[in-house]
Amino acid sequence: MLKIRQSIFHVGRMLAHFIIVVCLWTFICHFSGINAALLPTPAQVGNALVELCRGGILLNDVSWSVRRAGFGLIIGGTTGLLMGLLTGRIKSLNWLFTPVFNGFRAMPPVAIVPLVVVWAGLGEPAKVFITSWAAFFPVWLNTHAGVTSVDKVLIWAARSLGAKGVRLLFAITLPASLPQILIGFRLAISSVLICVVVAEMTGAYIGLGYRLNSAYLVFRVDRMLACLVVLALLGILSDRLFVKMTNRVFPWIRLTHESR
């Protein structure tokens, strides 16, 4: 009974947010004096969304973007996790790789897209490389930070009981740094969604980024906003899914949507 009431309250709150945003948006459209073609109303954006849904255009675009983002998250996230564990635990690897990664981390993905196109071409590997690049750094940094901040007392205690190497990693280091690692993955999700759009703006014929860019080129601001709405929804959904999955698999780490 309590759960039903909580769900109703939650849905009601989401609806209230949606209505407030739509009302505010409509108000700005009608009273701000901004050129109507540059700021379409929610109704016009809704029509553009329906237009894009016809013929499965939007569904195809979303599925390709999600696929590219998903592969990037898996490849970049796994690599970032492994490197974070290594640089966090082994001093020489930390000394060698951390300055290099910090340098690369400062490069905006937008800047490397043309280079990747020149080197790797227009195919899927190039796009997945960009999304992997986007996922790698938040996961690496948070894993590294998590591993280096593991309480030394825990490690000494485990060592005194005979644990070392891989056993120490799985028994102490990984569980202790798990909350930080999960934060890294959570940040990586929004990062890959941003970068998949950037990657699809060049050399693509399908995907949300491609659709957004081609709408811009033909003055279809309503379509641009429709794509942005879809991206925002994807971002919210993927974050909620991640939190739900994490809370199920690691119930002792209660990730939350809201601040307490």
Partner: protein, 332 residues
């Protein structure tokens, strides 16, 4: 006491932040509004009359202070105009056509260039491409929604092929060369100088498909409706300066090429080779309206626009040009 100091600090920071923002906007609006005309230009050789007029002081001679705002494409120039950040824009006809579907407050006051050779396609022979029909099923790089896509579509259509029979990949002209050389693309369609560089990069492996039978490109000066209706004298002065520039270019091609080369950072000899394909003149021809209408129909057919095609004649304003060169205006 600490809390009070913190609150005071936050208030001062907020005032400084918003004050700076307000002051910056005010300065920018002053720059745009008072005694200065901003021409958004697309950083291409076809903007030459504007560069020459600016370099030779023809705008100053007409009593107007001009600032050139450079953008990489004509579409961005038009965005600047429609966003109120420029008074005039140099732009090809296709972005104007797209904007016309949204009833944007703008008018074409003159064409400054016509060319049948500026936009074309280049293909790789080693992809089995010997003639147009071989483009069927091939991957073609083209900037979507632009005059290049329209011209390609018209060209393929003339040979009984639809763009649906090919796979079009969205790439800007500078981005096309690398993938073309790598072999990721069988062909590219775009405009000079990029398409020419793509052709050169392939050497003897290149085959050119000219669009001259189906498309004559125009490059135009667009002004806001406010400029056209309330400040016609400014438009007249700009056109007078451009007319003088075109006359100078005709008599002094070498110096004109030098001016353009220095302005856009293009090699002199590359420009010299391109120069003969450009036909600079002021004019408002009937064919411009026909072209805009044809492109409007293509945009609807391609799914880019979903509204009724507007009356393209309403986009043209010949009043200013008629003042200085009535014989150049074919439209009412």
């Amino acid at each position: 006491m600490k809390r009070l100091k913190l609150r005071l600090f936050i208030v001062i920071l907020a005032i400084a932040f918003f004050g700076t923002g307000y002051w910056s906007c005010k300065s920018l609006n002053q720059a745009v509004g008072e005694n200065k005309i901003i021409i958004a230009e697309g950083t291409q050789p076809i903007v030459a009359p504007v560069y020459v007029a600016f370099a030779k002081g023809y705008f100053k001679n007409e009593g107007i202070t001009v600032e050139l705002a450079s953008f990489p494409t004509g579409k961005l120039c038009l965005d600047a105009l429609l966003g109120g950040k420029a008074d005039f824009a140099t732009v090809a006809e296709t972005p104007i056509m797209h904007a016309s579907f949204k009833n944007q407050p703008m008018h074409i006051i003159t064409t400054i260039l016509r060319s049948r050779e500026n936009t074309f396609a280049v293909a790789r022979k080693d992809n089995g491409i010997k003639n147009v029909s071989d483009l069927k099923g091939k991957v073609i790089g083209v900037p979507l929604g632009t005059n290049a896509e329209y011209a390609l579509s018209a060209f393929l259509g003339k040979h009984g092929i639809s763009t649906g029979d090919t796979k079009l990949i969205n790439l800007s002209p500078p981005e096309m060369i690398g993938p073309l050389m790598r072999g990721d693309l069988a062909a590219i369609a775009g405009w000079q100088p990029h398409i020419g560089r793509g052709e050169k990069s392939l050497g003897s492996n290149a085959i050119r498909f000219q669009f001259d039978e189906v498309y004559e490109e125009t490059y135009n000066i667009v002004a806001s409706t406010e400029m056209v209706q309330q400040k016609k004298d400014v438009s007249v002065k700009v056109l007078k300066a451009l007319d003088r520039a075109i006359a100078y270019m005709s008599e002094n091609p070498t110096d004109s090429i030098r001016i353009v080369s220095e302005r856009i950072g293009m090699e002199n000899n590359e420009l010299e080779q391109l120069w003969p394909i450009y036909h600079f003149s002021l004019g408002l021809r009937r064919s411009l309206v026909d072209l805009l209408t044809a492109q409007g129909e293509w945009a609807i057919k391609s799914g880019y626009q979903n509204e009724k095609i507007p009356n393209m004649q309403n986009l043209i304003s010949g009043d200013a040009l008629r003042t200085i060169k009535p014989e150049a205006v074919e439209l009412p």
